[in-house]
Every structure is written in structure tokens, then in C-alpha cells.
Amino acid sequence: MELDSKSPAGPIETRWERQRFNLKLVNPANKRKYTIIVVGTGLAGGSAAASLGELGYNVNCFCFQDSPRRAHSIAAQGGINAAKNYHNDGDSVYRLFYDTVKGGDFRARESNVYRLAEISLNIIDQCVAQGVPFAREYSGYLDNRSFGGAQVSRTFYARGQTGQQLLLGAYQALERQIGAGQVTMFPRTEMLDLIVVEGRARGIVTRNLLTGAIESHIADAVVLATGGYANVYYLSTNAQGCNATAIWRAYKRGALFANPCFTQIHPTCIPVSGEYQSKLTLMSESLRNDGRVWVPLKKGDKRLAAQIPENERDYFLERKYPSFGNLVPRDVASRNAKQVCDEGRGVGESGLAVYLDFRDAIARLGKNVIKERYGNLFDMYERITGEDPYQTPMRIFPASHYTMGGLWVDYNLMSTIPGMYVIGEANFSDHGANRLGASALMQGLGDGYFVLPNTIGDYLASTKFEKVDTGHAAVREAEAQVAAITARLLGAKGTRSVDACYRELGKVMWEYCGMARNAAGLKQALAKIPELRERFWRDVKVLGSGEELNQALERAGRAADFFELAELMCLDALNRNESCGGHFREEYQTPEGEAARDDEHYSYAAAWEFRGAGNAPVVHKEPLTFEYVHPSQRSYK
């Protein structure tokens, strides 16, 4: 299969403008004749559904929570990037583009990244006009901070609740369209399959989570905005409900899945405290601006932090990376924390944590300054752990956080199934092998407000749609598939709970396909996962019926898909014989222990094609070329 990125050639600065001009338009009077399905109401789906409604399309929008306002985007804390250069500190669209391509370790498509940087400007304008209460300076103008090691201040924020405020902006715009009758909202409704008729996406099959009813919805185009799959690790910073079901079932209907092994592990999370642990909580990256990361020099040193004298502490990031110190990028910080713990020098009861110490910052700046900067984070830490970080150092450990991989899309955000678009974290488009802080919110809103509403019209205007109704054979077949999965889960009547099985999968993925990977481990995982999957289907115990609110059944269905996706992730990780961004293969490192890319052989996006259950998936390659930002080795020494 030839993967055509449809990305325009010529000067990068005008590619998006030229593309928009060349795309076909739908006559305003005809828009209401088209129905578009949007699955997901996070930043990507919420903004897309609202914008499509404003344009006059008929929109049917879906989410599994009880309200569109609760999508996982609500939890983002830090901020959103935009190249406004309000601070005259040298920022520009080009610099944001450059930083994002480099930060992604040269595994993203240049055209997409440039467009993202370009529309970052419009996003902020749009959100301000909607009433997002961004932080302000005394002058009344917008405040910015620098984030995640960026050398310019380009991050806009609303206290520690940026995701919440941006999402409420999109949600309110969406509710306005619902009130106006342009959008019909289906909350507590889960997409369980994609309907493909004669090669085109024509609808979805859903389960009403309150009544259990399996229903089909027909449309002219389908947009998936269903978020990332970090919950494949069982424990992650994602919300409990985050899942891969929508994109996975679309993959099984023919959409290619790109770079599944590109996942991001966030270095500063609160460590696991017990078997019952249900999720991991992120502590903002900004803490590394003032906190110092250390472990004891000696193995198995069980003394309290305060009793360990200065010369018996190892500030390992400062030691290894004198110029960036505690501010090295996420992947580097995470890997080093794992390494010292593997050496037996981790702290806390489990030994799976490192200290993040504010003692020196408090001595230097005073407790008040630290409180002003991080008060809410310190409170959150204390609430969860019961320890006071003003007195004892925080304990932190890396956790699975974000997935750069996702369904393959072209420059217009269309997948390999005509008529199916994928936006937000669910696609693979803009972050390459590593995402920079504050760039996911930008991408979600960029896709939803500004890209998709411009590109989807081209498909609608240039396609002749045949009439399809819910009696169509393809619809019946998809519904039957969904019913069969539900029946099988309820019928297993095994002896183990969903979580007992799912936790095991998470452990295998964390161990072998987490922060550091190697061929031997990945092969082991590839042997174990099918076994675990078989055991899951044989032993799982789901009570109740399919005709009512049944949360265990929902969770079982999502876990079932993770058992399959996990295998593809390991295959992809094994296929990529190089280290890049969040994908660190231990065999491929520089003499200093840094990630060693292999541009000669792996400068491509790996897009996997499903070939039927029991058959090996096939990889297709989209070659990546870098005309503007030339690949170089990252160095933080």
C-alpha cells in the first residue's frame, strides 16, 4: 500500500494556505444535508463538533462519560503553547515548528508540524474570546511561562487548570450548538465498531451504557477524537475510562495504526503505594525548576532522607548532565530514575522512587516563595501521601502518560479508510517520537477548531454518497460482531475479575515495553501477551447482564482491546531497531548512554495493517524527509 500523505510541496510557510485554497468547498446551503459523527468530546472532539455545528453540518456527538465536559482533557494542568512572541524573547512560528520537530526526535511530518505552529496563534485568540480565564499580568495582558525546558516563554496557562478551562470553553461552544439543534449529543454512549460500506466509513455501532442497547448511527463521515491509549500499562496518569477501543476497532476495519510503540513516560508522578492502586497522579513538571533529584549513593540505604549527609547523596541528573541538570527532557529524566532504582538505590518502601528535594530552594528563596510557586502541588502531594513536602523531600517515579502513536492520518487528518478522520491524541500526526510539554492541548484544539472543519468539506464535496440505512448488510454484520463480544465476556463465567487480569498485562507492558526496551525482553513479552489474553478470555468473570448499566462489562471490553493492542506495540518496538524519543532500545545507545537514532534505516512512520485475527500484521512505511530542520543528535550534557 502506498501511503500518500497528501501534504503539499513548495515553501513550508504557505503550504496550509495553498492546501485550503485547493480543497473543494461545500456550498453553505448544502451543509445541512450532511451528517457527521464525532466520537469524543475532549479538546479535539469538543472543538470539532462545535465548529462543524457552527458551519451548518448536522453533527452527532458521542462520549462515554455522563457529560461532554468530563473528557480526560479536563485533567491537563500545565498549559498550552503558542508562538505569539508577546514577550519579544525571540519566539516565532518557525521556532515553535523547529522545537517540535527536534523535540519529536525527527520522527514527525514537517508539513503537519509547521501548520500546528502556525495555527497556535488562532487558538489562543479563540479561547480568549470564549472567556477562558488565562493568567494575566498587572497590565491586563496575557501572561506566559516557559515550560518543559523551552528557551522562550510561550506557554499560556490558567493556574494549574489549563486543560479544564480550555475544555470548558470548547464544551460551552458545543452546548451552544446543542441548544441550537445543530449537534445532537449522546453521552454515556460508547462506540464499539465502525461501519464501513464499500470501503467508506459510513457510521458507528454504539452501546448505550445505561440501557445496554446496541444501536447503529449512519453518517457521511466519521471523526474519531477518542484520546490516547496510555492505559495499556494499567497504571497511568490518564483517567480511568481512557481506552483504545474506538481506534482499535477502526484498525480492525482497515485503518492503519502508526508508531504504536511511541509512548511517553512522565518523570514526576507520585509513586505506587500498593496493589490496590488504581491510577498514578502527575505532579507538574514545573517542580523540576526548583527541586533537586537525588538518591542515596549506597545501595539499600534505608535511613530517612534527613539523616543522609550531603556527601552520601547522588544528585544524578546534575552529575550526568551538568548544563541541563534537573531540567533534562522527560524521557532522559525518566530513564535515569529507572536506572538508579534498578541499581537498588531507589527510596521509599517499594524502592521504586527517587527524591525531589526542595530543601535548598526553601533555604535560598524562603518557604513563602516556594509556597507561592507550588503551593497547590504541595497540597495535592500531601493529600495523597500524607507527607509534608516542605519538611521531607517528595518521592517521585515515572509513569505512563501520553501516547504519540495512533491511527495514521494524512495531511487532511483522514485515515486510510476514506471518510474516517482522526484528531487529537488518537492520531499519530504531530509529535513524532516524543511530545513536548504543553503541545498536546495545542494539537487537540488545532485539529478540532481549525484543521478538520477546513479539510472535511473536500471529502464531502467530492464524494457521491449512496443511501445506507440500518438494514444494510454491513451494519448488521458490525452489530452482530459487537453483540458477540458482549455475549462472550458475559458468558466466560470465569474465576478472576477484569482488573486481576488487566493488571498482569500492565505489568508485562511496563516491564518490557516501557521506559527501556530490548529485543530479548520484547520477544518474551510477545510470547506472554497471547497467553495472558487467552487466560483473560477463559477466566474473566463479569457479572450482571448486558441490558443495564454494567461498569464491569465496560471495563472488560476495554481491557480486551488492550490485550490485542499490547502485542502490536511490542511488534512495533521490536521492528524499530533504533532509539528515538520515548522509544529507548537498550541495544542502540551512544557511548554516553543516550538514545542513538538510525536515520538511514528508520526515518519513517511505521503504519501497521490488520490482516485478520491470527495473522501477522503488515507494516507500511511513510518515509519522512526533513527539508527544513536537519536531523541532529540531541545532547543535554
Binding site: 462519560q65 483517567a239 457479572l543
Partner: protein, 248 residues
């Protein structure tokens, strides 16, 4: 520690519910309240009894999905804290806890601790927004916003729409929720053109949803996990009166 739970079990909206007693002999003080319920549900599943249904998602106190009455207090005894962020170290060995769903006419029970809060969405759809179509916005810095207004607006915008205010109010009034949105948008210059029509439309919808009226009791403020202040209700009343009478 040992915790005794009495939980409201109700199969669906049509059937009658009742309190059921469960005993958990080994609760770790590091668990969150919801993790304790997870453990209970695992045990129930193993025994072949249906697990307790409860809403949750982020488990970080921000999505507003979780919530239950714990011994008569919405989200439990710790001020400024959602149920998912409440940890068991705030309880002691042998404690007996009564868990019930939000109770309000506008929030019918769906199952066990799960209720239907879609009335909140309909209130926002009625007017809780600023009408700005995508692409029509001026530059973000075209209209300066006083720092103080932005801060006050953010205080109100912190509402997570969980419904604790309604559940705790003896009148089942949604005034704290309404006021929070009206203050959030009304404190910003961008929110001025629709300020009065917004208050009127949102209040009218709340009445249609059968939420009660506010009689200034203040239980809502006391349980709000995001510390939204009663002042927002005064602001709502002012905007409403101004719209209706042209004064205020």
C-alpha cells in the same frame, strides 16, 4: 483498619433501593476512598454478588464525575475535597460509613450511587457560554483584562459541575452552579454583551429542571470541593434583576 460500609443499592430508576451493610477488614490508610470501593467490588465479584455502581473517571478531583453522600455530607468530611481525593487516613479503625447517592428531584438515581446530572448540561446549553464562532476572534491581547477580574473569574470557573451543592442543599437548588458560570463569564469583558440574557436563560432552564430556590443557607459553599463562594449567587441575582427590571 476495619471499615463498615452501608451502601445504597438500587438496581435501576424503577426499583426501590435499600441500604446494604458490608465489612472491609483490611483497609489501608493510603487508599483513596474510591480504591476502597474498588477492593469491595473485587470481593463482591469473587463472591458472585454484583459490584456497586459508582461514577468516577479522573480520580484527581477535576472531572467532577465522582461523588456520594458520606454520613450525610457530600464528598465526605474533608473540606475542599472530592470523594476521589479523600484518603482513608482520615478515618479510623471501626468507623461506620453510610454512602448514598446525590438526592435531588432534578438528579434521578440511575443505579446504586450513580445519578443523572444531565440537567446541568441543559442549563449550560440554555445560555452558559459566550457566542463566538470559530475563527472570528480578535487577537488575544486586543482586549486587556484586569488581573483582578481574571483571578476572580478563574475562582468561579473552577467549578467542576459535580452536583455536590445541589445534593447538600435542603432546597436542592442549583444556584451555586449557576452563579459560578454567570460570574465566570460575567466578570470578563468578553462576557458583557450577553450578560443579562445569559442569567435569564440559565435561571429559566434551572426552574424547568425542577431545581429549588436559594434561601441563603450556605450548605453548598460548605461542601463545594472547589471552594466556590456564595458571592457568585449574589452576582447571579444582580444580573437577573438587572435584566428583568433594568436596575441593580
Amino acid at each position: 483498619m476495619r471499615i463498615i460500609l452501608h451502601i445504597w443499592r438500587q438496581r435501576n430508576a424503577g426499583e426501590k433501593g435499600r441500604m446494604v451493610r458490608y465489612e472491609l477488614p483490611n483497609v489501608s490508610e493510603h487508599m483513596s476512598f474510591l480504591e476502597m470501593l474498588d477492593v469491595l467490588n473485587e470481593e463482591l465479584t469473587m463472591k458472585g454478588e454484583e459490584p456497586v455502581a459508582f461514577d468516577h473517571d479522573c480520580r484527581e478531583g477535576i472531572c467532577g464525575m465522582c461523588g456520594a453522600m458520606v454520613n450525610g455530607i457530600a464528598h465526605g468530611p474533608l473540606p475542599g475535597t472530592t470523594l476521589c481525593q479523600l484518603h482513608m487516613r482520615h478515618f479510623k479503625d471501626g468507623d461506620e460509613l453510610y454512602l448514598e447517592p446525590w438526592r435531588a428531584r432534578a438528579f434521578p438515581v440511575v443505579k446504586d450511587l450513580v445519578v443523572d446530572r444531565s440537567a446541568f448540561d441543559r442549563i449550560i446549553a440554555a445560555g452558559g457560554f459566550i457566542s463566538v464562532a470559530t475563527g472570528s476572534a480578535p487577537d488575544g491581547n486586543a482586549i486587556p483584562v484586569q488581573k483582578e477580574s481574571a483571578e476572580n473569574s478563574m475562582d468561579a470557573a473552577a467549578c467542576i459541575g459535580c452536583g455536590a451543592c445541589v445534593a447538600m442543599c435542603p432546597n436542592a437548588s442549583a444556584s451555586l452552579f449557576l452563579g459560578a458560570k454567570i460570574a465566570h463569564l460575567g466578570l470578563l469583558p468578553q462576557g458583557q454583551p450577553e450578560r443579562e440574557s445569559r442569567a435569564v436563560a440559565m435561571v429559566a432552564q434551572a426552574n424547568r429542571e425542577l431545581f429549588g430556590s436559594c434561601t441563603n443557607i450556605g450548605e453548598c459553599e460548605a461542601v463545594c470541593p472547589k471552594d466556590i463562594k456564595l458571592e457568585v449567587i449574589a452576582r447571579m441575582n444582580r444580573d437577573f434583576i438587572r435584566a428583568k427590571c433594568g436596575v441593580g
